[in-house]
Amino acid sequence: MEIPAIVGAGLVVIGVGIGIGRIGGSAMDAIARQPEATNKIQTAMLIAAALIEGIGFAALFAV
Protein backbone atom coordinates (compact mmCIF):
# COMPACT_ATOMS: atom_id res chain seq x y z
CA MET A 1 0.00 0.00 0.00
CA GLU A 2 1.38 3.35 -0.92
CA ILE A 3 0.97 6.32 1.37
CA PRO A 4 0.38 9.54 -0.55
CA ALA A 5 2.94 12.32 -0.15
CA ILE A 6 0.32 14.69 1.14
CA VAL A 7 0.02 12.55 4.27
CA GLY A 8 3.70 13.14 4.96
CA ALA A 9 3.23 16.84 4.39
CA GLY A 10 0.33 16.75 6.82
CA LEU A 11 2.49 15.03 9.43
CA VAL A 12 5.18 17.67 8.95
CA VAL A 13 2.61 20.41 9.37
CA ILE A 14 1.37 18.80 12.59
CA GLY A 15 4.96 18.74 13.83
CA VAL A 16 5.44 22.35 12.85
CA GLY A 17 2.23 23.27 14.63
CA ILE A 18 3.35 21.54 17.80
CA GLY A 19 6.75 23.21 17.54
CA ILE A 20 5.40 26.71 17.07
CA GLY A 21 2.87 26.10 19.82
CA ARG A 22 5.61 25.09 22.20
CA ILE A 23 7.68 28.13 21.28
CA GLY A 24 4.71 30.40 21.89
CA GLY A 25 3.90 28.73 25.21
CA SER A 26 7.48 28.87 26.42
CA ALA A 27 7.73 32.50 25.36
CA MET A 28 4.59 33.28 27.36
CA ASP A 29 6.07 31.55 30.41
CA ALA A 30 9.30 33.45 29.99
CA ILE A 31 7.48 36.76 29.63
CA ALA A 32 5.43 36.02 32.73
CA ARG A 33 8.61 35.28 34.64
CA GLN A 34 10.57 38.22 33.31
CA PRO A 35 8.26 40.90 31.97
CA GLU A 36 11.15 43.32 31.56
CA ALA A 37 12.71 41.06 28.89
CA THR A 38 9.53 40.97 26.78
CA ASN A 39 11.14 42.58 23.75
CA LYS A 40 14.08 40.22 23.58
CA ILE A 41 11.89 37.18 24.14
CA GLN A 42 9.47 38.27 21.44
CA THR A 43 12.24 38.71 18.91
CA ALA A 44 13.77 35.34 19.70
CA MET A 45 10.33 33.73 19.58
CA LEU A 46 9.54 35.21 16.18
CA ILE A 47 12.84 34.11 14.73
CA ALA A 48 12.46 30.56 15.99
CA ALA A 49 8.85 30.37 14.85
CA ALA A 50 9.75 31.74 11.42
CA LEU A 51 12.51 29.18 10.98
CA ILE A 52 10.22 26.29 11.89
CA GLU A 53 7.52 27.69 9.68
CA GLY A 54 9.99 27.53 6.81
CA ILE A 55 10.20 23.75 7.22
CA GLY A 56 6.42 23.54 7.08
CA PHE A 57 6.35 25.47 3.82
CA ALA A 58 9.09 23.32 2.40
CA ALA A 59 7.02 20.22 3.18
CA LEU A 60 3.85 21.72 1.76
CA PHE A 61 5.43 22.81 -1.48
CA ALA A 62 7.47 19.67 -1.89
CA VAL A 63 4.23 17.76 -2.43
Binding site: N39, T43, L46, I47, A50, L51, E53, G54, F57, A58, L60, F61
Partner: protein, 377 residues
Protein backbone atom coordinates in the same frame (compact mmCIF):
# COMPACT_ATOMS: atom_id res chain seq x y z
CA UNK B 1 5.81 74.74 -7.22
CA UNK B 2 2.86 74.62 -9.58
CA UNK B 3 3.83 71.14 -10.66
CA UNK B 4 3.86 70.04 -7.05
CA UNK B 5 0.41 71.43 -6.54
CA UNK B 6 -0.84 69.60 -9.58
CA UNK B 7 0.74 66.37 -8.41
CA UNK B 8 -0.76 66.80 -4.98
CA UNK B 9 -4.20 67.38 -6.47
CA UNK B 10 -3.75 64.43 -8.73
CA UNK B 11 -2.79 62.09 -5.91
CA UNK B 12 -5.65 63.36 -3.81
CA UNK B 13 -8.04 62.62 -6.63
CA UNK B 14 -6.50 59.19 -7.01
CA UNK B 15 -7.02 58.52 -3.34
CA UNK B 16 -10.66 59.54 -3.54
CA UNK B 17 -11.05 57.26 -6.51
CA UNK B 18 -9.41 54.47 -4.56
CA UNK B 19 -11.73 54.99 -1.63
CA UNK B 20 -14.72 54.96 -3.94
CA UNK B 21 -13.57 51.72 -5.46
CA UNK B 22 -12.91 50.32 -2.01
CA UNK B 23 -16.42 50.92 -0.88
CA UNK B 24 -17.94 49.44 -4.00
CA UNK B 25 -17.16 45.76 -3.50
CA UNK B 26 -19.47 45.51 -0.56
CA UNK B 27 -22.22 45.80 -3.16
CA UNK B 28 -20.08 44.45 -5.89
CA UNK B 29 -19.45 40.95 -4.58
CA UNK B 30 -23.16 40.34 -4.83
CA UNK B 31 -23.31 41.09 -8.53
CA UNK B 32 -19.94 39.64 -9.36
CA UNK B 33 -20.77 36.04 -8.87
CA UNK B 34 -21.11 35.01 -12.44
CA UNK B 35 -17.60 35.74 -13.60
CA UNK B 36 -17.10 34.03 -16.89
CA UNK B 37 -14.77 31.10 -16.57
CA UNK B 38 -14.31 29.61 -19.96
CA UNK B 39 -10.82 28.61 -18.78
CA UNK B 40 -12.18 25.56 -17.08
CA UNK B 41 -13.18 23.87 -20.29
CA UNK B 42 -10.66 21.26 -21.28
CA UNK B 43 -10.72 19.84 -24.74
CA UNK B 44 -7.87 18.95 -26.99
CA UNK B 45 -8.32 22.07 -29.03
CA UNK B 46 -10.07 25.15 -27.79
CA UNK B 47 -10.66 28.42 -29.48
CA UNK B 48 -11.12 31.47 -27.43
CA UNK B 49 -14.15 33.03 -29.01
CA UNK B 50 -16.18 30.42 -27.21
CA UNK B 51 -18.96 31.98 -25.18
CA UNK B 52 -18.87 31.67 -21.42
CA UNK B 53 -20.39 28.46 -20.29
CA UNK B 54 -23.68 28.70 -18.54
CA UNK B 55 -24.92 26.30 -15.99
CA UNK B 56 -21.72 26.29 -14.00
CA UNK B 57 -22.33 25.51 -10.37
CA UNK B 58 -21.89 28.21 -7.78
CA UNK B 59 -18.94 26.40 -6.21
CA UNK B 60 -17.07 26.23 -9.49
CA UNK B 61 -17.78 29.86 -10.12
CA UNK B 62 -16.36 30.84 -6.77
CA UNK B 63 -13.31 28.70 -7.32
CA UNK B 64 -12.74 30.25 -10.70
CA UNK B 65 -13.21 33.68 -9.25
CA UNK B 66 -10.67 33.08 -6.49
CA UNK B 67 -8.19 31.74 -9.01
CA UNK B 68 -8.73 34.75 -11.18
CA UNK B 69 -8.30 37.02 -8.19
CA UNK B 70 -4.96 35.48 -7.28
CA UNK B 71 -3.64 35.69 -10.82
CA UNK B 72 -1.70 38.41 -12.47
CA UNK B 73 -3.37 39.89 -15.54
CA UNK B 74 -2.47 41.68 -18.69
CA UNK B 75 -5.05 44.40 -18.18
CA UNK B 76 -6.08 46.28 -15.09
CA UNK B 77 -9.35 44.49 -14.53
CA UNK B 78 -11.59 45.76 -11.77
CA UNK B 79 -14.77 43.80 -12.32
CA UNK B 80 -17.03 42.33 -14.97
CA UNK B 81 -20.65 43.04 -15.39
CA UNK B 82 -21.97 39.70 -16.62
CA UNK B 83 -25.40 41.02 -17.53
CA UNK B 84 -23.97 43.22 -20.24
CA UNK B 85 -20.64 41.38 -20.48
CA UNK B 86 -18.69 44.59 -20.04
CA UNK B 87 -15.34 44.70 -18.30
CA UNK B 88 -14.47 47.63 -16.11
CA UNK B 89 -10.78 48.49 -16.09
CA UNK B 90 -8.12 49.71 -18.44
CA UNK B 91 -5.68 47.99 -20.80
CA UNK B 92 -1.94 47.85 -20.17
CA UNK B 93 1.14 47.49 -22.31
CA UNK B 94 2.16 44.06 -23.59
CA UNK B 95 5.89 43.68 -24.25
CA UNK B 96 7.04 40.39 -25.73
CA UNK B 97 10.55 39.31 -26.56
CA UNK B 98 9.77 37.20 -29.58
CA UNK B 99 10.96 37.90 -33.08
CA UNK B 100 12.37 41.19 -31.86
CA UNK B 101 10.37 43.21 -29.40
CA UNK B 102 6.59 43.21 -29.76
CA UNK B 103 4.81 46.05 -28.06
CA UNK B 104 1.05 46.46 -28.18
CA UNK B 105 -1.89 47.30 -25.97
CA UNK B 106 -3.51 44.48 -24.05
CA UNK B 107 -6.89 45.69 -25.33
CA UNK B 108 -6.12 43.61 -28.42
CA UNK B 109 -6.66 40.48 -26.35
CA UNK B 110 -10.15 41.64 -25.42
CA UNK B 111 -9.78 40.11 -21.98
CA UNK B 112 -8.57 36.83 -23.33
CA UNK B 113 -11.41 36.51 -25.75
CA UNK B 114 -9.56 37.18 -28.95
CA UNK B 115 -6.21 36.68 -30.61
CA UNK B 116 -3.84 39.61 -30.77
CA UNK B 117 -1.81 40.23 -33.91
CA UNK B 118 1.51 42.04 -33.87
CA UNK B 119 3.92 42.27 -36.81
CA UNK B 120 2.49 39.13 -38.32
CA UNK B 121 2.70 37.09 -35.13
CA UNK B 122 -0.37 35.91 -33.27
CA UNK B 123 -0.69 35.67 -29.53
CA UNK B 124 -3.46 34.49 -27.25
CA UNK B 125 -4.00 34.26 -23.52
CA UNK B 126 -4.52 31.06 -21.58
CA UNK B 127 -4.78 31.12 -17.79
CA UNK B 128 -3.35 34.64 -17.85
CA UNK B 129 -0.25 33.64 -19.81
CA UNK B 130 0.65 34.69 -23.33
CA UNK B 131 1.18 31.92 -25.91
CA UNK B 132 2.08 32.13 -29.53
CA UNK B 133 -0.75 30.80 -31.68
CA UNK B 134 -1.95 30.76 -35.22
CA UNK B 135 -4.39 33.31 -36.55
CA UNK B 136 -7.36 31.35 -35.23
CA UNK B 137 -5.93 31.16 -31.72
CA UNK B 138 -5.59 27.38 -31.51
CA UNK B 139 -4.01 25.83 -28.43
CA UNK B 140 -2.25 22.51 -28.55
CA UNK B 141 -3.52 20.77 -25.46
CA UNK B 142 -1.77 17.70 -24.12
CA UNK B 143 -2.66 16.17 -20.74
CA UNK B 144 -4.12 19.41 -19.44
CA UNK B 145 -1.21 21.60 -20.42
CA UNK B 146 -0.80 24.00 -23.29
CA UNK B 147 2.15 23.08 -25.46
CA UNK B 148 2.24 26.20 -27.58
CA UNK B 149 5.40 28.24 -27.76
CA UNK B 150 5.72 30.77 -24.93
CA UNK B 151 7.38 34.08 -25.80
CA UNK B 152 9.41 35.83 -23.11
CA UNK B 153 6.86 38.08 -21.51
CA UNK B 154 8.07 41.42 -20.17
CA UNK B 155 4.62 43.01 -20.23
CA UNK B 156 3.52 45.75 -17.93
CA UNK B 157 1.00 43.48 -16.25
CA UNK B 158 -1.42 44.43 -13.54
CA UNK B 159 1.16 43.61 -10.89
CA UNK B 160 3.91 45.54 -12.60
CA UNK B 161 1.58 48.51 -12.95
CA UNK B 162 0.64 48.21 -9.28
CA UNK B 163 4.29 48.02 -8.24
CA UNK B 164 4.91 51.22 -10.18
CA UNK B 165 1.95 52.87 -8.49
CA UNK B 166 3.14 51.72 -5.05
CA UNK B 167 6.66 52.91 -5.75
CA UNK B 168 5.28 56.30 -6.74
CA UNK B 169 3.13 56.38 -3.62
CA UNK B 170 6.08 55.52 -1.38
CA UNK B 171 8.23 58.14 -3.05
CA UNK B 172 5.60 60.85 -2.67
CA UNK B 173 4.85 59.86 0.91
CA UNK B 174 8.42 59.70 2.16
CA UNK B 175 9.92 62.57 0.20
CA UNK B 176 7.03 64.62 1.58
CA UNK B 177 7.93 63.47 5.06
CA UNK B 178 11.60 64.21 4.42
CA UNK B 179 10.72 67.71 3.25
CA UNK B 180 9.04 68.52 6.54
CA UNK B 181 12.38 68.08 8.29
CA UNK B 182 13.88 70.90 6.29
CA UNK B 183 11.82 73.44 8.19
CA UNK B 184 12.56 72.15 11.65
CA UNK B 185 13.82 69.03 13.31
CA UNK B 186 10.42 68.47 14.86
CA UNK B 187 8.34 66.25 12.57
CA UNK B 188 5.17 67.66 11.14
CA UNK B 189 2.42 66.32 8.89
CA UNK B 190 2.86 62.78 7.63
CA UNK B 191 6.32 62.61 9.18
CA UNK B 192 4.66 62.62 12.58
CA UNK B 193 3.08 59.28 11.77
CA UNK B 194 5.94 57.83 9.74
CA UNK B 195 8.80 58.74 12.01
CA UNK B 196 7.92 56.30 14.80
CA UNK B 197 7.73 53.54 12.20
CA UNK B 198 11.11 54.46 10.77
CA UNK B 199 12.57 54.59 14.27
CA UNK B 200 10.93 51.24 14.99
CA UNK B 201 12.67 49.69 12.00
CA UNK B 202 15.94 51.22 13.10
CA UNK B 203 15.81 50.51 16.83
CA UNK B 204 13.86 47.25 16.96
CA UNK B 205 14.91 45.57 13.73
CA UNK B 206 18.19 46.91 12.43
CA UNK B 207 20.26 47.73 15.51
CA UNK B 208 19.54 44.60 17.60
CA UNK B 209 20.08 42.25 14.67
CA UNK B 210 22.92 43.89 12.77
CA UNK B 211 24.67 45.80 15.51
CA UNK B 212 25.47 49.41 16.23
CA UNK B 213 28.52 49.39 14.00
CA UNK B 214 27.27 48.23 10.63
CA UNK B 215 23.52 48.86 10.61
CA UNK B 216 23.68 52.19 8.77
CA UNK B 217 24.68 50.59 5.45
CA UNK B 218 21.55 48.42 5.35
CA UNK B 219 19.00 50.93 6.58
CA UNK B 220 17.84 52.05 3.14
CA UNK B 221 17.17 48.52 1.98
CA UNK B 222 15.47 47.46 5.22
CA UNK B 223 13.22 50.51 5.34
CA UNK B 224 12.27 50.18 1.70
CA UNK B 225 11.51 46.48 2.05
CA UNK B 226 9.46 47.02 5.18
CA UNK B 227 7.30 49.80 3.84
CA UNK B 228 6.99 48.27 0.40
CA UNK B 229 5.77 44.91 1.70
CA UNK B 230 3.47 46.52 4.22
CA UNK B 231 1.87 48.87 1.74
CA UNK B 232 1.51 46.14 -0.84
CA UNK B 233 -0.01 43.74 1.68
CA UNK B 234 -2.48 46.36 2.83
CA UNK B 235 -3.54 47.13 -0.71
CA UNK B 236 -3.87 43.43 -1.35
CA UNK B 237 -6.60 43.41 1.27
CA UNK B 238 -8.58 46.06 -0.53
CA UNK B 239 -11.03 44.73 -3.09
CA UNK B 240 -9.13 46.43 -5.89
CA UNK B 241 -7.76 43.01 -6.62
CA UNK B 242 -4.12 44.09 -6.41
CA UNK B 243 -2.13 41.13 -5.15
CA UNK B 244 1.52 41.77 -5.58
CA UNK B 245 3.02 39.87 -2.67
CA UNK B 246 1.05 36.76 -3.46
CA UNK B 247 2.89 36.35 -6.70
CA UNK B 248 5.96 34.22 -6.34
CA UNK B 249 8.03 36.26 -8.77
CA UNK B 250 7.81 39.36 -6.59
CA UNK B 251 8.76 37.63 -3.36
CA UNK B 252 11.46 35.78 -5.27
CA UNK B 253 12.91 39.07 -6.47
CA UNK B 254 12.92 40.43 -2.92
CA UNK B 255 14.57 37.28 -1.56
CA UNK B 256 17.19 37.33 -4.31
CA UNK B 257 18.10 40.89 -3.39
CA UNK B 258 18.39 39.93 0.27
CA UNK B 259 20.50 36.93 -0.71
CA UNK B 260 22.87 38.91 -2.89
CA UNK B 261 23.31 41.68 -0.33
CA UNK B 262 23.92 39.13 2.42
CA UNK B 263 26.53 37.20 0.46
CA UNK B 264 28.24 40.29 -0.81
CA UNK B 265 28.58 41.86 2.60
CA UNK B 266 29.68 38.57 4.16
CA UNK B 267 32.86 39.02 6.14
CA UNK B 268 35.64 36.51 6.64
CA UNK B 269 34.04 35.18 9.82
CA UNK B 270 30.78 34.53 7.98
CA UNK B 271 32.45 32.42 5.33
CA UNK B 272 34.54 30.66 7.89
CA UNK B 273 31.37 29.79 9.72
CA UNK B 274 29.94 28.26 6.59
CA UNK B 275 32.91 26.34 5.24
CA UNK B 276 35.01 25.57 8.28
CA UNK B 277 32.93 25.99 11.43
CA UNK B 278 35.31 27.03 14.16
CA UNK B 279 35.24 25.23 17.48
CA UNK B 280 34.05 21.80 16.34
CA UNK B 281 36.07 18.66 15.53
CA UNK B 282 37.22 18.15 11.94
CA UNK B 283 34.72 15.40 10.94
CA UNK B 284 31.91 17.65 12.13
CA UNK B 285 33.40 20.49 10.12
CA UNK B 286 33.29 18.41 6.95
CA UNK B 287 29.74 17.35 7.74
CA UNK B 288 28.59 20.84 8.57
CA UNK B 289 30.00 22.58 5.49
CA UNK B 290 27.43 21.22 2.97
CA UNK B 291 24.61 21.72 5.46
CA UNK B 292 25.62 25.30 6.08
CA UNK B 293 26.09 25.93 2.38
CA UNK B 294 22.62 24.55 1.75
CA UNK B 295 21.32 26.76 4.55
CA UNK B 296 22.65 29.79 2.71
CA UNK B 297 20.15 29.04 -0.05
CA UNK B 298 17.35 27.69 2.10
CA UNK B 299 17.16 30.80 4.25
CA UNK B 300 16.12 33.21 1.48
CA UNK B 301 13.96 30.47 -0.02
CA UNK B 302 12.02 30.15 3.24
CA UNK B 303 11.79 33.93 3.25
CA UNK B 304 10.15 34.10 -0.15
CA UNK B 305 7.88 31.11 0.44
CA UNK B 306 6.74 32.45 3.80
CA UNK B 307 5.63 35.78 2.46
CA UNK B 308 4.05 34.24 -0.61
CA UNK B 309 2.23 31.49 1.29
CA UNK B 310 0.97 33.69 4.09
CA UNK B 311 -0.52 36.26 1.80
CA UNK B 312 -1.93 33.72 -0.67
CA UNK B 313 -3.44 31.62 2.11
CA UNK B 314 -4.97 34.71 3.66
CA UNK B 315 -6.56 35.69 0.37
CA UNK B 316 -7.88 32.21 -0.30
CA UNK B 317 -9.42 31.92 3.17
CA UNK B 318 -10.95 35.37 2.98
CA UNK B 319 -12.38 34.88 -0.47
CA UNK B 320 -13.68 31.41 0.34
CA UNK B 321 -15.52 32.83 3.32
CA UNK B 322 -16.97 35.55 1.17
CA UNK B 323 -17.94 32.85 -1.34
CA UNK B 324 -19.60 30.85 1.42
CA UNK B 325 -22.03 33.72 1.91
CA UNK B 326 -23.51 32.88 -1.48
CA UNK B 327 -23.38 29.13 -1.08
CA UNK B 328 -25.34 29.18 2.15
CA UNK B 329 -28.90 29.94 1.32
CA UNK B 330 -29.99 30.31 4.92
CA UNK B 331 -29.59 33.64 6.64
CA UNK B 332 -27.83 31.99 9.63
CA UNK B 333 -25.01 30.52 7.56
CA UNK B 334 -24.49 33.65 5.52
CA UNK B 335 -24.44 35.86 8.59
CA UNK B 336 -22.00 33.51 10.25
CA UNK B 337 -19.63 33.49 7.31
CA UNK B 338 -20.00 37.26 7.02
CA UNK B 339 -18.93 37.62 10.64
CA UNK B 340 -16.09 35.19 10.09
CA UNK B 341 -14.88 37.02 7.02
CA UNK B 342 -14.88 40.31 8.92
CA UNK B 343 -12.88 38.62 11.66
CA UNK B 344 -10.40 37.14 9.16
CA UNK B 345 -10.09 40.56 7.54
CA UNK B 346 -8.88 41.97 10.82
CA UNK B 347 -6.47 39.07 11.23
CA UNK B 348 -5.22 39.72 7.72
CA UNK B 349 -4.61 43.36 8.62
CA UNK B 350 -2.38 42.08 11.40
CA UNK B 351 -0.73 39.55 9.10
CA UNK B 352 0.00 42.27 6.55
CA UNK B 353 2.08 44.17 9.10
CA UNK B 354 3.49 41.05 10.71
CA UNK B 355 4.78 39.59 7.46
CA UNK B 356 6.44 42.87 6.55
CA UNK B 357 8.01 42.89 9.99
CA UNK B 358 9.16 39.28 9.81
CA UNK B 359 10.58 39.65 6.33
CA UNK B 360 12.50 42.76 7.35
CA UNK B 361 13.64 41.25 10.61
CA UNK B 362 14.90 38.03 9.09
CA UNK B 363 16.63 40.03 6.38
CA UNK B 364 18.30 42.08 9.07
CA UNK B 365 19.21 38.89 10.90
CA UNK B 366 20.92 37.48 7.81
CA UNK B 367 22.75 40.75 7.26
CA UNK B 368 23.77 40.67 10.90
CA UNK B 369 25.17 37.17 10.61
CA UNK B 370 27.07 38.25 7.50
CA UNK B 371 28.79 41.21 9.09
CA UNK B 372 29.29 39.74 12.58
CA UNK B 373 32.94 40.17 13.46
CA UNK B 374 33.39 37.78 16.33
CA UNK B 375 31.55 34.64 17.31
CA UNK B 376 29.17 35.10 20.17
CA UNK B 377 28.58 31.59 21.37
Amino acid sequence: MVIRQVIMQFTRALFFLAVLVLIQPVFLTASEHSEHASDSTESTQIVYQEPAQDGMSMKQEIKAHIQHHLQDGHDFHLYTDTETNTHVGFPLLVILLDDGVQVFSSSRFHHGESVAESNGNFYALHHGKVYKTDAAGTFEMRDGHVHNEKPLDFSITKNVFSIMAFALMLILLFTGAARSYKKSLVPSGSAKFLEPLIIFVRDEIAIPNIGEKHYKRFMSYLLTVFFFIWLVNLFGLTPLGINVTNSISVTFALAVMTFVITQFSGKKEYWKHIFWMPGVPVPMKILLAPIELLGVFIKPFALLIRLYANITAGHIVLMSLIGLMFIFHSWIGSTLSFGLSVFISFIELLVAALQAYIFTMLTALYFGSAVAEHEDH
